[in-house]
Symmetry: C2
Subunit: 240 residues, 2 copies
Amino acid sequence: MQRLFINTPLTAGSHVEPPAEAAHYLTNVLRMKNGDTVLLFNGADGEWKATIHLEGKKRVRLGVVEQTRAQTSLPDLIYCFAPLKQGRLDYMVQKAVEMGVGVLQPVITQHTQVPKIGIERIRANAVEAAEQCGVLNLPECREAAKLDRLIDEWDPSRRLIFCDEAHETDNPLPILQSLQPGPLGLLIGPEGGFSEQERALLNRLPFVTAIPLGPRILRADTAAVAALALMQATVGDWGA
Amino acid sequence: MQRLFINTPLTAGSHVEPPAEAAHYLTNVLRMKNGDTVLLFNGADGEWKATIHLEGKKRVRLGVVEQTRAQTSLPDLIYCFAPLKQGRLDYMVQKAVEMGVGVLQPVITQHTQVPKIGIERIRANAVEAAEQCGVLNLPECREAAKLDRLIDEWDPSRRLIFCDEAHETDNPLPILQSLQPGPLGLLIGPEGGFSEQERALLNRLPFVTAIPLGPRILRADTAAVAALALMQATVGDWGA
């Protein structure tokens, strides 16, 4: 069933009006009719079944019927990523949402080659991924920060996992399995990798844990999914 | 340094002529000059440094100088995947190569919605990913097979991991960590998932191990990278 993110409180019996773009999508692209049902979520009130009421050619109202799933919470995981070129960035954001990150934090590193970060586009990709993948929470999208500042302001009680291409071992599993559960961050560098200076800085910090990701070089968006899968299965919310 | 896959034996002192497309890419896109160097690999003889010799406007010869890396072998891992729409399929193949699969095996399932499989395009994506990610081996690209036939002809001594969206647990790690090392396969279904009949068939087979991939629904290409990361870190070639 079609799922729609909507920025409105959801309660049984209420009526909500989707934004023009969503209304267009429901009526003209999906060709939904009066009485058809969709699923609504707003990141706070769980998931609700709603009925479509068409009013004239363009106006759509959604009658909220009943809750289908209770609200869940996202892992306390800040996903810090150096932005990539647009197509790969879209993918990277979608995949991070599927993998259940709580915060999307763009980071500018020395080798980051993307000058302007489109926060709105990041948010739109996060919404799309949440709609498609049954995720009930939208991660918070933060403004881009320089790596130095991110590190300066980092809460040292939050462990920051950093994928180090020059790590001396290949397997991240023993390292991740030795960590205590708690608030987490993951830092993924740009396509050009971190600078030597950045690697040295990160490896000196007591709240940073460097991990390898196998014997082959992974592209940044691949590394992100691989690292998130291993983190969720060890110290994340995939259970014991 | 630019890496180039070339379908020719490589030995010190030999000269090889790249195909027209690669020659065009080296001279017109990368604007390489006489004496510039590239890295060559053919999937069998390791990686070699080579020098460019331009002969006239279009002809390029590559003088093979010295070996930079010895040949490595790929994990004995058959990656069976239901083809996706083209853009996502390109990504899926590239990512499987980065993650080090040995065989790319397209599989037609009941819910597979892509009628024609472009094996040549799959191969081109595999070559591109190997060139970009420093992988020295090209996975073997097999012709598409129907799931029934794939199962009928499967060597029962090869464990087939299958990502089951309806698995009763969330965490694949305990299951994967209990497996013995040996030849492996991974089966990823189409966007619509496996049919109930297919799931029942797979779960009956003694050589099949079903795994979950967390509490959220993952898209097929995300599931592929997540499953491969967990397999490589437990029973694959990421080491103990």
